[in-house]
Symmetry: C2
Subunit: 403 residues, 2 copies
Amino acid sequence: MSLIVKKFGGSSVANAEKVMNVATIITDEYKAGNSVVVVVSAQGDTTDDFLEKAAEINKKPSKREMDVLLSAGEQISMSLLAMAIEKIGCPVISLTGWQAGVTTNSVYGMARIKTINTERIKKELDSNRIVIVAGFQGINKYDDITTLGRGGSDTSAVALAAALHADKCEIYTDVDGVYTADPRIVKDAQKLDDISYDEMLELASLGANVLHNRSVELALKYDVKLEVKSSFERVPGTTVKEVKNVEKMLVRGVTRDNDVATVSLVGVENTPGKAFKVFSLLAKGNINVDMILQSIGRENSKDITFSVPLNQLESAIELLEENLELVGAQKIDSEKEVSKVSIVGAGMVSNPGVAAKMFEALYNAQINIMMISTSEIKVSVIIDKADAEKAVKAIHDKFFNHE
Amino acid sequence: MSLIVKKFGGSSVANAEKVMNVATIITDEYKAGNSVVVVVSAQGDTTDDFLEKAAEINKKPSKREMDVLLSAGEQISMSLLAMAIEKIGCPVISLTGWQAGVTTNSVYGMARIKTINTERIKKELDSNRIVIVAGFQGINKYDDITTLGRGGSDTSAVALAAALHADKCEIYTDVDGVYTADPRIVKDAQKLDDISYDEMLELASLGANVLHNRSVELALKYDVKLEVKSSFERVPGTTVKEVKNVEKMLVRGVTRDNDVATVSLVGVENTPGKAFKVFSLLAKGNINVDMILQSIGRENSKDITFSVPLNQLESAIELLEENLELVGAQKIDSEKEVSKVSIVGAGMVSNPGVAAKMFEALYNAQINIMMISTSEIKVSVIIDKADAEKAVKAIHDKFFNHE
């Protein structure tokens, strides 16, 4: 008998029919003799509906109240899923974040899980119940509701799997695994049977929408075995685990991320500590800065360009403009029409020339590179958004068809 | 400086515009220097939408999961209302039932408030915040979410007013007070400036939809000063309080209640204790039996007819059929097409002939009476639903226009 955590995203529970489908997946596992904990996101468009309702009333509501509103979404989906399981005839109970013992820090809208008190969940599992837990939410030390931000339900699932020492954490989604590139862009993209945590982490950070990077980080840290699989087709997915023989394949995948924007600080005073001040200001404002490019200082000024998630662009600009004196730039520019295209592979570090091969593919496709960033297992470039699909195809061709 | 509890029903917060209107009422009170606690129901059709979603999945879901689902409704409306108040610029915080310390018993779907731990609310009031509390909901001793059933938000408001020793509890609704009859049926119905708890209690029980009877019971018990007023027009409403001079008006109002059905147990064995067994069975099943009529026993059998709320009819029949041996009836009949029409007035007890006058009005209008029930301050009759409006008009005419 195993303990399995299953996570279903919003598209998997978007309507009554899909909810019943998910209920069948869950009860089949339960009937096979396993203990099942389910993490569920809000149904399909619920979150967008809520955001629209809120915007009609207040364009800038407090994040605390926004979290109260958004967290109602999982409360709806989890109770409906529980009703579907009741219909099939299996014992079930749904629990909100606070009922499931999920406590977080107090960064409303982007909270991080601190601890999970599993007492209630364990009690329900001991009573042979299927336990459904609201993803994406918890409470802080003030007993106020928090949400975990983008990909929060993946994180909830992995954190629960870790806290419960589950045998496996299965992330159900609308694709059937992790591919070498987005199959919607690259027709001959190949599904991977398994992938290492590090590779998955980079793929996740770089726009492969199957898993959120925070959840992969957590899985790596607590050694949670993850599987990404389809909630519509019953086929094996991609397993994320420690992969030993990482050198067999240089590049594991090509990704594109449109959720990115660049900010340029033009004419920044060329004094020591300027970059430090700018980026600690942004960090305090909870802005996730990704790639950074600094021009070589000429005379008394330099330019600093960096990338941020698209939805944080506005806050970043505001924060910088409010602190213009500290920033000390002559001009603040920004650009939304960009994409980040990346290659990921754990074998990359020991194989020189991988980056060069990627740049060659881009050059041959006549695509201009605006920023470059490399790590031990990935190379990312920022390019014009209009070129992104062409770039993914060209790079995938270079690495997967010409080898 | 006063502490005022204001309750807004679903129709008062049905859309963004109405939410902003309610926010203005609240902030005007706050700006006048008063402490304000707001109890809010789910927006307009939310509850119906939820019931529909649930019915698509499971026609008979558990009441526990239904409460999880329904309670999301107030979480949505309270956060939106908080955002509207933030927009106006006043400090505000919204609290769910459990955050506001509302604990109930465990009768899901029809729970009763046991205690309110006001610590959190008082802390927020001390910080000069407007406090919004989700009506209709609480948690039981298992930390599970419960809902209070029909009119639950009125009950939440009065219970909070009692626990906080508020100076006043104002119930905002879409009518501007309590009338001598439903103004939609009787054109010349008159608004009452004030009414006694007992009269209001009877009116509420008998279908005057402005206040739920459980909330009036609570108000009477804890001496909470209630006012029913309009959320759309800023005019004085009707105050519910101890009224001394009750004899000045015999009848205070005429009401109609369509939420009623009758059940007949035909050919019940004529042995002692039969009625006791039947009605304790129904009580255990949480069925609210109202009027009871028992035919005089002839030979070995008698008939028992009683009325129940319409939405409990199905459960009542089921319960009786499951226990047919204990009930010992030859046949169970039921009738949905009935209405209860009542007159209420504290002066009634000392004025004989009031009931007769009501029956005379019905006789003149050619309306057949199926059941009769009287108390010290009310007379109710069950009649054909099709005759109900005509009956209200005839009775109102008799008491209010011919006196």
